[in-house]
């Protein structure tokens, strides 16, 4: 059974890659949804609504870094509209800036992953990371209806 796992994983990976290519809008929405869900876990900890949990925090930053890595491929020129996308045309007009922001998001997430050891160090990086990356990028590139 265990022997089949890599094969299954490879299949899943191939399938998700195919999905990403055939439906980049759905794929990037899923990434952002995952980011949001993870961000909520982090927010609850800094707000004192949930106990600090280093393993969960590491998972949050890993999700962010993963999204930053995958996202650049999910904005091909043919995905500007449709699928209820909230992506603004500005993304395709400022490709270099958009790519740089995603790269920075990945770098910041990995740096945070290495840096955070406890609640104090988590609080020190968290809201700035969210504000500078998530909010900063949504300002220019996301349109809520």
């Amino acid at each position: 059974m265990v022997r089949f796992m890599p094969a299954v994983a490879a299949l899943v990976f191939a399938a998700s890659l195919a999905a990403a290519q055939s439906n980049p809008i759905a794929a990037r929405k899923a990434l952002m949804k995952a980011n949001g869900d993870q961000a909520k876990i982090g927010a609850a900890m800094v707000k004192g609504e949930a106990p600090f949990d280093l393993a969960k925090v590491q998972a949050i930053f890993a999700t962010f870094a993963d999204a930053a890595e995958k996202a650049p491929a999910l904005f091909p020129d043919n995905s500007k509209t449709g699928g209820k996308t909230e992506a603004l045309p500005a993304i395709w007009k400022n490709k270099a800036d958009f790519a740089a922001r995603l790269a920075k998001f990945g770098t910041d997430a990995k740096a945070a992953q290495a840096e955070v050891k406890d609640l104090a160090t988590f609080k020190a990086v968290w809201s700035g990371l969210i504000r500078k990356n998530c909010t900063g990028c949504h300002e220019k590139y996301v349109q809520k209806d």
Binding site: G36, A39, K40, A43, S127, C134, T135, K144, D145
Partner: protein, 303 residues
């Protein structure tokens, strides 16, 4: 008979013109009304941040302390081009007197005696305490001088006729400063002051009538984005019912919503300012927002 009619019509027109003229005279604050004041620059900076001055007035694509203006603000009445309020003596406000500054922020009247358009939110800034305005003025003077004047507004007919704004002000500018409510806590009063005065939150978060005035009964009830696409959320308990004070204060610091999303559009700029305020001020804002009376905003329309 005809002659009498002509005379009567002429009298009505002249009387109407005089009445219009008198009703629309731009109001000013005389220098003598100010008294002496020792400016507190740190408080002036707090006002600068709470007021989000740089959000509109920073030179496009430049450092947030360089207030050369130039940003285009689209509205249903035309496009406004934000003026230079840097300390430059010729192109900014470097040569203004304190009374002229207080007049601009509370009466919406320029030093040359014209009405400003309410895209400049003097309907909120009129609530700001005199001492805070003077501290802000002193602080602005410490920021860099940026040369260059900004082009004129591009208004649709008949809104290019500024004198008419005097009538708008009769309806929308009551001249009242913020008065703390002795029955409420210091935190709630501070929050109310920051939100209703310098923060000018209601300016975007309230629906407006066809003349561009805030609909008082739906204050903070959200509505269509005056700058274009999208919808401004209702921030009364009707819209933020599930949010705690903590959640609101956290959004002001991080830009992250209760749903895990990040705010976009102009609110991202607002968060950039709010995050620089003292944590106590964000808590106070949150407490006041939570205490707002629940109102139903306008029905949301599809984009």
């Amino acid at each position: 008979m005809l002659r009498k009619l002509v005379i009567a019509v002429a009298i009505v027109i002249v009387a109407g013109g005089i009445a219009f003229w008198l009703l629309t005279i731009p109001q000013t604050v005389p220098a003598g009304a100010l008294g002496s004041h020792q400016p507190d620059l740190a408080n002036g900076r707090t006002m600068f941040i709470a007021g989000g001055c740089s959000g509109c007035h920073a030179s496009v694509g430049d450092d947030k302390t360089r207030l050369g203006g130039g940003l285009a603000l689209k509205s249903p009445f035309g496009t406004f081009y934000v003026p230079n309020i840097s300390s430059d003596r010729r192109d900014g406000i470097g040569a203004w007197s304190e009374a002229e500054f207080v007049t601009a922020l509370t009466k919406g009247t320029s030093p040359d005696g014209r009405h400003y358009y309410p895209a400049f939110p003097y309907t909120s800034y009129q609530r700001v305490q005199l001492g805070d305005l003077r501290d802000l003025f002193a602080y602005l003077k410490t920021l860099p001088a940026v040369s260059g004047t900004v082009r004129d507004h591009d208004m649709a007919f008949p809104f290019g006729f500024r004198r008419g704004l005097g009538l708008w002000k009769l309806l929308n500018l009551d001249g009242a400063r913020f008065k703390p409510d002795p029955g409420k806590s210091a935190v709630l009063n501070r929050g109310a002051y920051v939100v209703e005065g310098p923060g000018h939150c209601a300016e975007c978060h309230s629906p407006r009538n066809f003349m561009g005035g805030i609909i008082a009964a739906q204050r903070f009830g959200g509505g269509p984005n005056p700058e274009g696409k999208g919808w401004i959320p209702n921030i009364t308990p009707k819209g933020l019912g599930d949010w705690s004070e903590n959640d609101i204060a956290y959004l002001l610091e991080s830009g992250q919503t209760l749903e895990g999303d990040a705010v976009g559009g102009s609110m991202a700029e607002v968060v950039r300012h709010m995050t620089q305020l003292a944590a106590e001020d964000r808590t106070a804002i949150a407490a006041y927002i939570k205490s707002l009376p629940p109102v139903e905003g306008p029905k949301r329309t599809k984009k």
